[in-house]
């Protein structure tokens, strides 16, 4: 089943008929089977699915971290598919932000330096007003001079969020951003992500397996077996969990 989830709002990221195949012959694994999906601007979308459903692969392909086997991916006006290393680097600098589960910060840099890292790398000057806004939102003003080792896990992840936000990318891709955090720190990070969408119009695509985390999103896309199988708008933890359960049974029945 291919869900047509396109909306009227302009898409910040788009995948059309994306296939991803690993290996060949006997060892061939099909991770994505013709996924078509749009992620609207200024919305917080979660991608969910059981392990091996292809949710991480989809995100990697969308972000240009992994090449697609067939189909095209675009971010904003840029067609990602077919870009060389220089093009991908430019894309990452200008249009994409990342938040990872772990190894998010450089241990040698202070929190402030970590936040400004993408801008420094690109040789751009930070917009001071926006930087202040971001710092206020994440509530890290007191800790800017600290190194990652001196910050708690939640603080570290907030620094990572600030880093992704400060360059105002087209899309922020977050890969299990709360996977390594306790529930309270996780909730803080998620609230903060949701606020940045609501208040500042940021687009965020988040991969997660946690229904509670997914409930913070505006919309949840469900993957199973490399295909989009379902979708929820304005989800709650309960509706997400229910959908997941259904998917599990479907898969079992399918087997």
């Amino acid at each position: 089943m291919t869900a047509t989830v396109g909306r009227q709002a302009q898409a910040a990221a788009r995948a059309s008929e994306v296939w991803k195949v690993y290996g060949s012959g006997e060892a061939q694994v099909i991770a994505l089977r013709g996924v078509t999906c749009e992620f609207e601007q200024s919305r917080f979308t979660a991608i969910m699915g059981p392990s091996g459903s292809g949710k991480s692969t989809l995100m990697h392909c969308l972000a240009g971290l992994d090449a697609v086997t067939r189909g095209t991916v675009s971010i904003g006006e840029t067609t990602v598919t077919g870009l060389g290393d220089a093009g991908l680097t430019k894309l990452r600098r200008e249009q994409v932000g990342f938040i990872f589960q772990q190894f998010n910060l450089l241990p040698t840099l202070t929190a402030k330096e970590n936040i400004l890292l993408p801008l420094s790398i690109a040789g751009r000057k930070p917009d001071q007003a926006w930087f202040d806004t971001v710092i206020e939102t994440v509530g890290l003003r007191e800790r800017l001079g600290h190194r990652p080792a001196q910050l708690s896990g939640g603080q570290q992840q907030r620094v990572a969020c600030a880093r992704a936000l400060v360059s105002r990318p087209q899309v922020i891709f977050a890969d299990e951003p709360t996977g390594n955090l306790d529930s309270r720190a996780g909730a803080e990070v998620l609230k903060f992500l949701r606020n940045s969408v609501r208040e500042h119009g940021q687009t965020i695509v988040m991969v997660t397996h946690d229904p509670t985390a997914a409930a913070y999103a505006d919309r949840v896309v469900f993957l199973a077996d490399g295909q989009i199988v379902s979708e929820l708008i304005e989800p709650t933890a309960e509706t997400v969990l229910d959908t997941m359960k259904k998917l599990d049974t479907q898969v079992e029945v399918g087997d």
């Binding site: 991480s56 990452r92 600098r93 990342f98 589960q101 998010n104 790398i121």
Partner: protein, 849 residues
């Protein structure tokens, strides 16, 4: 356990090969040195065995003055001609031949230049006919006084042929001869071991090579049939008395060969010195590599501990790895050493004009040295990391690999202790308080200083690396590189320390040689009051000389105010062998060389009088009126009375004898002439006239004073260049260390690199980051080396202050070059790791599932 070790070894091939390479190089030098000396030694044995083939017993007079290595040949006392007759009368003697053969017959080739032999002697001898060894190839035997024969090798080198009129320099200035024949040696050889030979008629040979008629350098004896050589030797010795050295041909050949081999040991020491440097740097490298391996394997080792491996087993496993690396490196190093030894022997043989090389063999010393050094160095270097590995708690297997930055206190304290030990040893050695062990004490001091500084390096690295990196901070990848290089002070330090050793040695040697050069030329410029100087660069065992008549003729030239000719030779003074000088005009001591009398009169010198420097006076307890027995090379011992004492300096001979005594020097000709011009006279006018006078002495030139000083100090420059080039090796090895460290950094920081790439770091920027990390480390090592080297050099210069090295010259230009070289080394070392880093698959680096 053994299996596990082997597997982990194979898994880390590249890293171990890199560090093993340093050991391979060190071992190569050690075994190469032994192979070289063994091969050349056996070749020399063969040469001399050949030369004394037909000689059953050899008779020579005892030399008056024993000379050491690098001081030229002893001037043998001539054997009076009548001795030959006395020997013939000894029962059992079939025949006795008087031989004249001495080093110092220099043929002027067809291009007008003196033919040099690059090492082997240039023998002038009397022609005693063909033999089993000597074969006339062309022409005939010499009959007239101006007829000579030359060996085929010399004829080729000088491009001369039978019938040519050639000049030959001997004890006397150039004389002209006609080549009437060319001879070779058995087996179709053109020369024996590259020796050049000019054969005169016996009276001419006696005059030119011995400086006296009716005498021989030695007498060769053939035994009658059935008479044993040693028996005959004893009989002849008994007949001649104690003034003669009577030996069998085999004994003489063995002794002559042994003397040359002694000279070779110098070569051996140089090679072993480089081996030591290579191994010292290699030790750092191996220590670092094993530390890294242990750190990387923390989890694995902890797991082993958790499943029941004991501490000893852990140590054993690391040491076993080291043994394997050491063994492999030793085998490879030995192989390379045999190759390099054979190559050097071949080059040596060719350079010295065709030494017939004995077959290359591997002496036991090479094998023992190779394995001993290779194994011991590797295992010792791995011991510390092995101990550290054994302290990993089993719980580390379950935890995240935490590499807490251990405090540097211990290592700093140890470093301070070792450094001060080194400083103390240096102080003792350089200050002359170490008794007979000066050299060992100094070398030990240098070694301790290196290790001590290496231990202190982690502490120093933080501020210095921070400061250095500041240069690159304007550029984000540069800043990241700088921060990375400061992350693991120990690793950075030991990598930089490996580079430090080479750079410090180069800097130290440069400081010492530049200071020496500057001091000597400064002194010469201050003191020598001569516009023009006659002299030549020394290439053989003695400085070149010229006809004393040139001095007189020069003095008569218009525009010349004063001419001083300097003579010099080794002599036995009292019970010490020392250099003595003589001046054609003793008043030039004050008028040209600025000597100042501290006692007596130094402006004149009677035939039985001598002048001494204040140093000699002090050390020998001499004062005006003291008497000293002096044994010159060609005269009976004679007692001289000290008539004056002058203030010692580098330009003045320690002892000055009258010019009449110079007639009894080995070569009774001046080695230098100093020309003072009248006011208003132009050096450019006088110079060509002196040149004309020197036409018969092609080895000697006249130049203005500065050019002369330049010429005299040039050997120092050449020496310096040679040492610098050879020490580059240490720097090359250090490059391996930097590659090693960086490759590891890249590996360890794969995820970080992935993250950086994900947030927009381009490939070029990634490479830039790694390169700057390398450059910061290597420049740090270079700066450290320059600092340590300057310190060591300055210490030596300070210690030599009394020897006349008064200037301390810090070679800023060379230091700049070395910092540049350091940066270049960093860039080169970074290439492979940087390319690797740039190729890191972003997704693979950051994906967590």
């Amino acid at each position: 356990m053994f299996r596990a070790t082997l597997k982990s070894l194979l898994a880390r091939k590249l890293r171990l090969i890199l560090s093993g390479l340093a050991v391979v190089l060190g071992v190569m030098f050690v075994s190469g040195a032994f192979v070289l000396t063994d091969t050349l030694g056996r070749s020399f044995d063969a040469v001399f065995a050949d030369a004394y083939e037909g000689v059953d017993v050899n008779v020579a007079a005892k030399p008056r003055i024993e000379v050491g290595d690098f001081e030229g040949d002893a001037v043998a006392m001539p054997v009076p001609a009548e001795t030959v007759e006395r020997i013939r009368n000894v029962a059992g003697v079939a025949d006795a031949t008087g031989i004249v053969a001495a080093d110092g017959a220099r043929l002027i080739g067809s291009n007008g230049k003196v033919v040099t032999s690059f090492g082997p002697p240039q023998i002038g001898a009397n022609w005693v006919g063909v033999s089993d060894l000597v074969q006339l190839r062309e022409g005939r035997e010499p009959q007239a006084d101006d007829e000579i024969l030359v060996n085929a090798g010399l004829a080729k080198a000088g491009q001369v042929a039978v019938g040519d009129r050639v000049g030959v320099l001997t004890l006397e200035p150039k004389q002209e001869f006609t080549i009437v024949g060319i001879f070779g040696y058995s087996g179709g050889r053109d020369s024996i071991g590259g020796v050049n030979e000019v054969m005169f008629t016996t009276p001419v040979a006696q005059q030119l090579m011995l400086g006296q008629g009716d005498a021989f350098t030695n007498v060769t004896v053939t035994a009658a049939d059935g008479v044993a050589n040693d028996r005959l030797r004893d009989d002849i010795a008994a007949a001649l008395g104690a003034d003669f050295e009577v030996k069998t041909g085999a004994e003489v050949s063995a002794e002559a060969s042994a003397t040359l081999k002694e000279g070779l040991s110098f070569f051996n020491r140089i090679l072993l010195g480089f081996a030591a440097v290579a191994l010292l740097v290699g030790t750092f490298l191996i220590l670092n590599t094993f530390s890294i391996i242990v750190a990387q394997r923390t989890r694995e080792l902890a797991l082993m501990r958790a499943v029941g491996a004991g501490r000893r087993q852990i140590i054993g496993s690391v040491v076993l790895e080291a043994v394997a690396v050491g063994l492999l490196a030793s085998v490879l190093g030995l192989g390379a050493g045999v190759g390099i030894g054979a190559l050097l022997a071949y080059l040596f043989g060719n350079l010295s004009g065709g030494l017939d090389l004995a077959g290359v063999a591997v002496p036991p010393a090479a094998v023992i040295g190779a394995f001993g050094v290779g194994l011991i160095i590797t295992v010792v270097a791995a011991l510390l990391p092995a101990l550290r590995a054994s302290r990993i708690p089993p719980i580390a297997a379950m935890q995240d690999v935490a590499t807490p930055d251990r405090p540097l206190t211990k290592v700093t304290v140890a470093g301070a202790a070792v450094t001060s030990t080194g400083a103390t040893l240096l102080f003792l050695g350089l200050g002359g308080h170490a008794g007979g062990n000066t050299l060992i004490t100094i070398l030990g001091g240098v070694l301790f200083a290196f290790i001590g500084v290496a231990l202190l390096t982690p502490l120093i690295s933080r501020p210095v690396v921070g400061l250095l990196g500041g240069i690159f901070s304007w550029w984000m990848p540069g800043k990241l590189g700088r921060l990375n290089s400061g992350r693991n002070p120990r690793r950075t330090a030991i990598t930089a320390a490996a580079l430090m050793v080479g750079i410090a040695l180069v800097t130290g040697v440069t400081v010492i040689l530049d200071s020496t050069k500057s001091s000597i030329s400064g002194l010469a410029q201050d003191k020598i009051k001569a516009e023009l100087v006659i002299g030549g660069a020394q290439t053989g065992p003695r400085p070149p000389t010229f006809d004393p008549v040139v001095l007189e003729k020069t003095a008569a030239l218009p525009g010349v105010a004063l001419v001083g000719g300097a003579y010099g030779d080794l002599a036995q003074v009292g019970d010490e062998r020392t250099w003595v000088g003589a001046n054609s005009d003793v008043s030039t001591l004050t008028r040209i060389f600025g000597a100042r009398a501290t006692a007596g009169d130094i402006s004149r010198l009677g035939p039985d009088q001598m002048l001494v420097s204040s140093d000699v006076a002090a050390s020998r307890g001499l004062s005006v009126g003291s008497t000293v027995p002096v044994q010159l090379a060609r005269a009976e011992a004679k007692t001289y009375t000290v008539s004056g004492i002058y203030e010692a300096d580098e330009l003045l001979d320690p002892i000055t004898v009258p010019v009449t005594a110079a007639q009894d020097f080995t070569v009774p000709q001046p080695i230098a002439g100093f020309i003072q011009l009248t006011p208003g006279a132009q050096a450019a006018d006088v110079l060509p006239r002196v040149e004309t006078l020197l036409a018969d002495s092609p080895e000697v030139t006249v130049a203005d004073r500065d050019a002369f000083i330049e010429q005299q100090t040039k050997p120092l420059d050449d020496l310096l260049r040679m040492i610098q080039i050879l020490l580059l090796l240490a720097i090359v090895i250090a490059v391996l260390g930097i590659i090693n460290t960086l490759a590891l950094s890249v590996l360890e920081r794969t995820r970080e690199l992935g993250l950086l790439r994900a947030v927009g770091l381009g490939r070029a920027q990634t490479m830039g980051m790694i390169t700057i990390e390398a450059v910061v480390i290597s420049v740090f090592g270079a700066l450290l080396g320059i600092a340590v080297g300057s310190g060591l050099g300055a210490a030596v210069v300070e210690a030599l202050r009394d020897e006349g090295i008064t200037d301390l010259v810090l070679p800023w230009a060379d230091m700049g070059t070395m910092v540049g070289l350091g940066a270049l080394v960093g860039v080169i070392a970074a290439v492979i790791p940087a390319v690797r880093a740039a190729r890191i698959d972003v997704l693979g680096a950051i994906a967590h599932d």
